[in-house]
Symmetry: C2
Subunit: 387 residues, 2 copies
């Protein structure tokens, strides 16, 4: 297997863009990534697109060649990858495999979602498709309800409190407020978070990620080719792992941990030859605040059950033990589902290059991205190192 | 790159199965393929699922881990691949890459679609998503209209006649009538085909493929491992190629040929080290009869423009120069979109093994499958050899 380098990144702003089409968002991100890498579309040998539900949100399907045509690389293999909220991560995993295995020498991985063209009820139903529609969906349990159950069980098992959940929201809003591409750039107080409108007890609106439009893209090549493209500053992939679990929440023996995450994490740390203490910063999948708490445990940043106090003590804040979601996370940066996994990588690379401005962390040699699908049916973990 | 073997195949019947869920169809096909290979689910290291529009047809998304959980292989990478009607072929292409490149030693590739849960108008709209919704879709041009334009142009350029189109339908119905798993098992006469109800002039109902439910699956391993699993009768992959083109029909300089097909065919023949004359039989993507005629030209079985007379002369029938769609094709066997590309491979392997019963062709050493997405935005070509 060859070592793989991310030599270009590109992101649109995340937000509600009523005047933008899904393909135009993706094409913009791809263009930015190509510019960042300093290459033209004719250098690209394969196109990997992460998208969860473009057809349901916009009616347009067959999105990979559609967007490829706009980006200028028709003729090459172009494929859409779907794994719920981990669609972007899954596209990256397969693109990475292709370059690492020598199947191609230059690939573009993009992720995109356009969600605000539907009303909230429609969005909620489309998102519910990432769960078990025959069981959970029939029972009316959409994702806030599923993660509320996870939160309640975490509270019961480990004494996690609403204040712990709220601390995650406060931190992510503080980070996102300083991210010019974030969807919701406002700080909130702990009191505001605790007083938020209930969505599914104990989760308030401040515990839930956003419904966003947006796209992100990266350009990957073998590390040995990287000097041909950029004279400096790329990121090396130390590990990329995709794992899965059953989809229905009631099929899992323990809902306070995701086996797809722990399995992927173990494999990723082994692949990278490092442990969780060696990671300097992480972008994790905070679709709900409880998901960030569970992730901080499942990724080994803190012992099982301790994720709440760990967050509340500031250990995951800027300057903490392990800064998590310096981008603002899905909570504040936004969560255009298919874009999220690729966007996390762009945010990490920005930190690894030392180009994160007033969000820049001091230690930024190794970063980890964790992208979750549904309530743990899929997980993709990527570990990057500054080169 | 390692040589890859198909050691197991499994297909459900194609048809209208109101009482069956999409996941249950896929799980059935996977189970049949595992049984055929003589292995259990714990041997499988990765799961590749082709599905075009399960979420739009059924509401359920995140289908790869969902079906994997039912099939007994949660924990491994499970991904859904979408490339319109070439979704199944695209899943196979990526699975093949993975085994060929040594990324895994045993993969299952499945394809599935459940279309009959929606009414015809809804199905037509969902299918239109494989085209250009902002242009073609806005203009009301659904797929029968797009392929009708292709047919009209082919008639204008090359003198192709409605009798040529009808000959393809008659042949495919004759073949499908002898396929126990086909959706529409009835023979038709040339007169019936010509008198069919018009859908989009010059295409009648007999020129259009079917709206079907169904699933198919294959098990792939390195050829060097094949003896561990089966003592005999597997198929070797001589070539697997995926190519693309722009999606909107009006972006193509010539609509009587698909550049994604000619490009993929050239690459596939080079990869296999053979030419079109060496192919003993083919399963091609007859979403419409004109598509089979164009495919027979683009694949080099007959000169450009000659596909109509070639079919009408019986050259593509059982016992002809190159038997095409001995399964009955999408026209008679059915076209559960995401299943089609994988189903073609199952049908070829059955022929290559000499197990096609009264549809068995005499020369069955080398078979080719051509799977088309939309009006040529994607093409996957696979060439198999009996081992």
């Amino acid at each position: 297997m060859r070592q793989v380098a991310l030599i270009g990144i590109g992101k649109t702003a995340f937000g509600a863009f009523g005047d933008r089409s899904l393909p135009s968002l993706a094409a913009e991100a791809v263009g930015l990534a190509l510019s960042d890498a300093g290459i033209g579309p004719s250098s690209v040998e394969a196109f990997y697109l992460g998208n969860f539900a473009g057809p349901s949100f916009t009616g347009q399907n067959h999105l990979a060649p559609y967007i490829a045509g706009m980006a200028g690389f028709a003729g090459i293999p172009c494929t859409r990858f779907e794994n719920a909220c981990a669609s972007g991560g899954s596209a990256f995993f397969h693109g990475w495999q292709s370059v690492a295995a020598g199947l191609c020498d230059c690939a573009v991985v993009a992720g995109v979602e356009k969600m605000t063209s539907r009303n909230t009820a429609q969005v909620t139903e489309i998102l519910a498709g990432a769960g078990d529609m025959a069981g959970e969906g029939q029972a009316g349990a959409t994702f806030p309800a599923l993660f509320a159950m996870i939160a309640r069980r975490h509270m019961f098992e480990f004494g996690t409190k609403r204040e712990h959940l709220a601390a995650v929201a406060v931190k992510n809003h503080a980070n996102g407020a300083r991210n010019p591409l974030a969807h919701m750039r406002k700080t909130i107080t702990l009191e505001q978070a605790l007083a938020g409108k209930l969505v599914a007890e104990p989760l308030t609106v401040y515990d839930c990620s956003l419904i966003s439009d947006g796209a992100a893209a990266v350009v990957i090549v073998p590390v040995s080719h990287a000097p041909r493209y950029r004279s400096s500053k790329f990121a090396r992939v130390l590990a990329a792992v995709q794992s899965s679990d059953t989809v229905p929440l009631d099929s899992k023996p323990d809902i306070t941990t995701f086996s797809a995450v722990t399995r992927a994490a173990n494999q990723a740390y082994a692949q990278a030859g490092i442990g969780p203490r060696d990671v300097h910063l992480a972008e994790v999948h905070d679709c709900f605040t409880i998901a960030e708490i569970v992730a901080s445990e499942d990724l080994g940043f803190t012992p099982k059950g301790d994720g709440g106090p760990f967050a509340a003590a500031g250990c995951t804040a800027m300057g903490g033990v392990i800064p998590i979601n310096t981008s603002g996370g899905l909570k504040s940066k936004g969560h255009p589902v298919g874009a999220t996994g690729v966007g996390q990588l762009c945010d990490l690379v920005q930190q690894l290059r030392g180009e994160a401005g007033d969000r820049q962390v001091a230690k930024h040699q190794i970063g980890l991205a964790q992208n979750l699908g549904g309530s743990g049916g899929t997980c993709v973990i990527t570990i990057l190192e500054a080169a």
